[in-house]
């Protein structure tokens, strides 16, 4: 059972026995990778153009926002906390960037101000979450729900209804390519590289230790509060990237755009093999989890499932994948 006291130490003490279960505990995303390839194969059969360049690029553009959000959520969950406000941050950044660019006009400087302001907003929102949870020691679930209400309120203040329009240059860059490589792929690679760099830092080890056993981490001198705060700031930053990607994708602002993404980001992280109890997991898994959610949508669409059945089948597949992943992870540990 999940509890702070019976935390599986697998990710740290893997080694010893080889085989599938051991490699699974060292690389918790292996199951997600298998599910991803199966779904991709089904998708390729149902949609012959799946592996063409254009379709792959447009799929990537559609999957990117949630994947970015899931990357950020991973860090918070590795520390055994949760961020239910990241969708609110997405909404806030999304409308703020659109409004700023509209106000400053169509110029590179205006884009730069908009993007910088968006990222700053994300960092600030993440910092507020982190201070409340890590330093004031508020309950993470209720606190991040409360801040998400505030962030969506601010988004509604900036833009009461979906609308606004960014200049074509802005969204053309998002949809464009450099030397034949789609920009969305470059963004994803850059974001993943950033996440992997973070995964090599002392912060990351301290974060996993905190998620594994907060009290023990504290005794060994880990600055627990600072580590948890940093995880929330990272989550806020990736939520801001997600908000920016949505500006590129939709070319307009919507104060409610992030609402449904919050729980999807948690789903993507868990699908990727990261344990909600903290400590065990990886960014790689969350990227796969984000793609899996997108591919499930694709497969249902191209299988010509009647409209009213789509939600149920999607829900059933996700529930099956979630429970299968959790059950396998446990078998690997036992």
């Amino acid at each position: 059972m999940l509890s702070p006291f019976t935390k599986p130490a697998t990710a740290v003490d893997a080694g010893g026995a080889g085989g599938w279960s051991a490699s699974r505990s060292r690389r918790p995303y292996l199951l997600a990778a298998a599910v991803f390839f199966v779904l991709a194969a089904i998708n390729a059969i149902l949609q012959p153009t799946f592996l063409t360049f254009d379709v792959a690029a447009s799929n990537l553009a559609a999957f990117l926002p949630l994947t970015l959000l899931a990357i950020g959520q991973t860090f918070v969950i590795l520390g055994s906390d949760i961020d239910l406000s990241n969708g609110g941050i997405v909404s806030l950044v999304n409308v703020a960037v659109v409004e700023i660019i509209e106000r400053f006009g169509d110029s590179a400087a205006s884009y730069a101000i908009g993007i910088a302001a968006g990222l700053a907003l994300g960092l600030a929102a993440g910092a507020l979450n982190g201070v409340c949870v890590a330093y004031l020691r508020f309950q993470a679930i209720v606190t991040t729900f409360a801040t998400s209400v505030i962030y969506v309120g601010l988004a509604l203040w900036i833009l009461p209804q979906a609308g606004g329009q960014v200049p074509p240059d802005f969204y053309n860059v998002y949809a464009g390519a450099v030397l034949g490589v789609p920009n969305v792929l470059l963004i994803l690679v850059a974001a993943a590289a950033l996440a992997l760099v973070i995964a090599r830092t002392r912060f990351y080890y301290a974060l996993r230790a905190t998620g594994g056993n907060m009290q023990a981490a504290f005794f060994t001198g880990v600055p627990v509060a600072r580590v948890r705060l940093t995880a929330y700031v990272v989550s806020g930053f990736f939520a801001a990237l997600c908000g920016l990607a949505l500006v590129g994708e939709t070319a307009s602002g919507d104060p409610l755009i992030g609402g449904l993404m919050t729980l999807s980001s948690v789903t993507a992280v868990v699908l990727g093999g990261t344990s909600l109890a903290g400590c065990v997991g990886s960014v790689t898994g969350s990227v796969l989890g984000g793609f899996i959610l997108g591919l499930i949508n694709n497969v249902i669409f191209f299988a010509h499932v009647p409209f009213e059945w789509q939600g149920l089948i999607q829900g059933a597949i996700i529930l099956a994948a979630l429970s299968g992943g959790v059950a396998m992870a446990r078998r690997g540990r036992n």
Binding site: Q139, V142, L156, Q314, G315, S323
Partner: protein, 318 residues
Amino acid sequence: MLARLRAFLGRPLAIEAIAILALLAVGEALSPGFASPRQIVNQLIIAALLGVVAAGQNLVILCGQEGIDLSVGGIISFGAFLGGNLMQQNDANLPLALASVLAATFLIGLMNGAGVTLLRIPPLVMTLGMLGVVNGLLVVLTRGWPSGRAAPLLVEIVQPLALGLPGIVFIWLAVGVLMALALRRTTFGLNVYAIGANEEAARLAGVPVRRTRMLAFALSGLFSGISGLLLLGYTGNVFVGAGDQYMLPSIIAVVIGGTSLAGGSGAYWGTMAGAVFLVVLQSILTTLNIPPFGRQIIYGVVLLALMLFYGRQRRLRG
């Protein structure tokens, strides 16, 4: 004396009572008539809808192990839809409709419990997945167009019954009494506290941990179903996503009611007061002449401020 006063004021129920009275006073000052008996009854009706769901949520949270039920909103919508379609404005269909809704929602909750205890899926994940399935099922059943209407008898629950209070409030009070008896006077209730406080110790003492937790999830489904039926009586018909608005408030009502999210301590009286508080806060913000975004920001800030008093983690000490 001062110490005893401070101890009393530090209790969740006292904080809530004071906060509710303060809100009523502020509301009355800002808009005369806010604290009139009629308005208070209206707010109690809405609080009852939230309070009944929160009863199930309370049980699940008391069981500990990160217990939480995110599927309650979907189950409420499902219960209202199923009930409305089975009764179709006809009192003769009422018994069958009530029985079907209660059985179906209990079963959904039982599936949550089975996933959590037998497959050992974390509650947050299991109930989140179930939410997706139930919402998907609703779309299949409604084909996107909700239908179904309450039986006349069910609509009566919002009409005054006795002492100027409508039936729905008495139903809620009955739920409160039952919860108190179940938690304090039955084996099941004591088991809930035992596994929430220390699951390993409870297991060693012979408490049927799995069965208790499974029943808590099943009852959470059942209470959501009851809330769906009450909602159907309140609104008269069925609309899309009727239950969505109850998911997170049901958790917040439990938390500000003094139940620890870590499980093992808390009582339903606090949760009832928490539900009243949330409803009065919402309605005061609606009364105030400020735009929706301002209401939302104030609501969030008040929730955040409340966190100062409740369930803060213990300080780590070296």
